[in-house]
């Protein structure tokens, strides 16, 4: 049996079910308890599991992230929440120098089963410090895993995997994605990391679309289909580990690669995907690979300027038309 629900509800259900299954799971962060998170993701958990396990913290991102590490190392499975992913930067030392490395530098003698959840993404006039997506930064750091699902089915299954996983996971939720609806099974399920999904089949162009760009790519693909161009849209779902097999299999069919991500282009995840596919499957490519990404500028507040920075279905469509020309 399946039901239709939103991403937000699916996240909430995953947290609820996992906390019920395992008493060592706790949630901490700003506004997660009584307020139930600004988007309602943690709504009802405080009432159900109590103040010991669902904790409102002071505004101390570094301590939230660092305390998750200490808790994970001593027997809890903490889920730390950062209100906007931009502010993970405040806890960067804890995340990059401690959490990512501690298992390795202590010779594998310590386990760090923790999840840091944070909303990513731009739009809505939130300007420079509330609009960023850092998937490329954290994919760059050995020791971390990075998840960025975009459908209700995926967020639920991948969040459960993240929580049960014995390594540190960054779980990025797109702000524009919380209300997206989809079918979710009633029974318990998990989704393995590193397995991409083909969202739409096509024979002419492979679009690897990251996070919210999946939906924009699907919209562009519909329009292009009217023009006789069939796009295959791949949602990698996890930035690290990354499923290159599925992408290369698709490129072997379409011989054209477009990568789309909302974060700005320079040194972004698109560069890595293009480089890997080029190195592994150079002979399959009939055209230069293309990256459609955010512009290299802090997010401006003004609506017109903002819209120039964020890639959408039109930018994607135009890039593909140019490629096919």
């Amino acid at each position: 049996m399946t039901r239709v629900m939103t991403v937000k509800q699916a996240l909430n259900e995953a947290l609820y079910e996992e906390m019920q299954r395992d008493e060592t799971i706790i949630i901490m962060g700003c506004d997660v308890a009584i307020r139930g998170n600004p988007f309602g993701v943690t709504k009802g958990l405080y009432e159900e599991f109590g103040p010991d396990r669902v904790r409102d913290t002071p505004i101390s991102e570094a301590a939230i992230i660092g305390a998750c590490l200490g808790a994970a190392a001593t027997g809890l499975r903490p889920i730390g929440e950062i209100l906007f992913s931009d502010w993970i930067t405040i806890g960067m030392d804890q995340l990059v120098n401690q959490i990512a490395k501690i298992r390795y530098m202590f010779g594998g003698r310590i386990e760090v089963p923790l999840v840091i959840r944070a909303p990513v993404g731009a739009g809505g006039g939130q300007a420079a410090q509330h609009s960023q997506s850092f998937e490329s930064w954290f994919s760059h750091v050995p020791g971390l895993q990075v998840v960025l699902p975009i459908t209700p089915y995926d967020v639920k299954g991948l969040l459960k995997t993240a929580i049960r996983n014995n390594d540190p996971v960054l779980f990025f939720e797109h702000k524009r994605g919380y209300e997206i609806q989809g079918e979710v099974p009633e029974e318990d399920y998990t989704i393995p990391f590193g397995e991409a999904v083909v969202r739409r089949e096509g024979s002419d162009v492979t679009i690897v679309a990251v996070s919210i760009m999946v939906h924009r790519a699907l919209a562009a693909a519909e329009e292009l289909s009217q023009m006789g161009i069939e796009c295959e849209v791949i949602d990698p779902r996890t930035a690290y580990p990354f499923d290159y097999d599925t992408v290369i299999e698709s490129v072997a069919k379409t011989h054209r690669l477009v990568v789309a991500h909302e974060s700005n282009r320079r040194s972004g995840i698109g560069a890595e995907i293009v480089s890997q596919v080029t190195e592994r499957a150079f002979d399959e490519l009939d055209e230069r690979p293309v990256i459609v990404a955010g512009r290299n500028v802090p997010m401006p507040y003004n609506r017109t300027l903002e819209s120039m920075v964020i890639p959408n279905e039109d930018t994607l469509r135009d890039a593909i038309l140019e490629l096919m020309d």
Binding site: T24, A62, G66, G70, Q94, F106, G143
Partner: protein, 360 residues
């Protein structure tokens, strides 16, 4: 004023006089500490002294690679603190972690093998001196970034609270760490939540070349406790009994659910910051007055003068420490190098690593 030395001899002497007046405490063991317990404190202090003295020599001889920070002169802090703990209690450490590891019951052979980068070391040669960890003994690892161990102790305290376990966590950190932002966040969070954590500041008065008097307007770290609504005490860091008593009391409070305590163990780093520190930033003569408070000599003097042990017993303990360290050195030298196929070992959990295959 441009200084040639971070501190003048007069300033050093004046600071010592003030220390003697305000902090120095008589060597008085707590009533519950048996003679055996007192001798064990001396034994561990002697092991740390010998271990870190030999580490410097081994580093110069290229048996130890990279960086190593000596705990010489600080022995009373870690040993006094850990003597007041139970098995099952945790500690977090700093970049100067050998003393903490030994005090918490770490194995000298695994330590020395780790410092020599060998596979039989605590961290299979991945951590070295700066990341030494003895997790099974409750030592949650040394960290190379000043102040960064603070929230780890908070998290351990949270585990105790949520799972209703009665362990406490001692968070060793230096005076340098007190000026990191995470220091504030960590103490604030654990005091707000009444977590069973003991923040033990090893105030050796030096952050490499910067004296604490030039790093903070108020030189008393313990005063900061007021800001967090928790007790703060300054104790004689050359005196293991003084540290023991403060930690014992703080642990009692913590186990009672009364939250954290800030303990400032004040002493003086009269040796270099690390094995290769040429100490050009200070006149060597400024160290000498403080050397007179050498905690190991002080403890040995106390044991003999108070009649707790004979000079022969004290000497024998020191010689045993020397023998144990030499054994560990030999073990480290003979231990195998990590094989190349262990390069990625420990990067992620074994099941995930396996799933990656060649794609790491």
């Amino acid at each position: 004023m441009v200084r040639e030395s971070s501190i003048t001899l007069e300033e050093s002497k004046a600071a010592l006089e003030e220390f003697k007046k305000e902090v120095l405490a008589p060597m008085e063991p707590p009533p519950e500490l048996s003679i055996e317990g007192q001798l064990e404190i001396y034994r561990k202090m002697a092991v740390i002294r010998v271990f870190d003295t030999r580490v410097k020599e081994l580093w110069k001889q290229n048996f130890i690679y990279g960086l190593a920070h000596s705990y010489v002169g600080a022995e009373a802090v870690a040993v006094g603190a850990c003597a007041a703990l139970y098995e099952g209690d945790y500690i977090t450490s700093t970049h100067r972690g050998h003393g903490h590891t030994i005090a918490k019951g770490g194995d000298l052979k695994k330590m020395m093998a780790e410092l020599m980068g060998k596979y039989d070391g605590y961290c299979h040669g991945k951590g070295g001196s700066m990341h030494i960890a003895a997790v099974d003994e409750g030592m949650l690892g040394a960290t190379g970034i000043v102040g960064s161990g603070m929230p780890i102790a908070v998290g351990a305290g949270l585990t105790a609270k949520v799972l209703k376990k009665d362990f406490v966590t001692v968070c060793f950190h230096g005076d340098g760490g007190t000026n990191q932002g995470i220091w504030h966040e960590s103490i604030n969070l654990s005091s707000t939540w009444d977590l069973p954590v003991i923040f033990l500041c090893e105030n050796n008065q030096w952050a490499i070349s910067l004296p604490y008097s030039q790093a903070a307007k108020n030189p008393r770290v313990a005063d900061r406790a007021i800001g967090y609504g928790i007790p703060g005490v300054t104790v004689d860091g050359f005196n293991p009994f003084a540290v023991y008593k403060a930690v014992k009391e703080a642990a009692h409070r913590a186990r009672n659910g009364e939250g954290p305590t800030l303990i400032e163990a004040k002493f003086y780093r009269y040796i270099g910051h690390f094995v290769a520190d040429d100490e050009q930033y200070r006149d060597a003569a400024t160290n000498e007055p403080w050397g007179a408070l050498d905690p190991l000599r002080r403890m040995a003097g106390y044991l003999v003068e108070s009649g707790v042990a004979s000079q022969e017993t004290v000497d024998a303990i020191y010689e045993e420490a020397q023998a144990a360290v030499e054994d560990a050195i030999e073990y480290g030298k003979q231990a195998p190098e990590p094989s190349p196929d262990t390069l990625y070992e420990g990067l992620y959990s074994p099941e995930f690593l396996q799933s990656l295959g060649e794609e790491i």
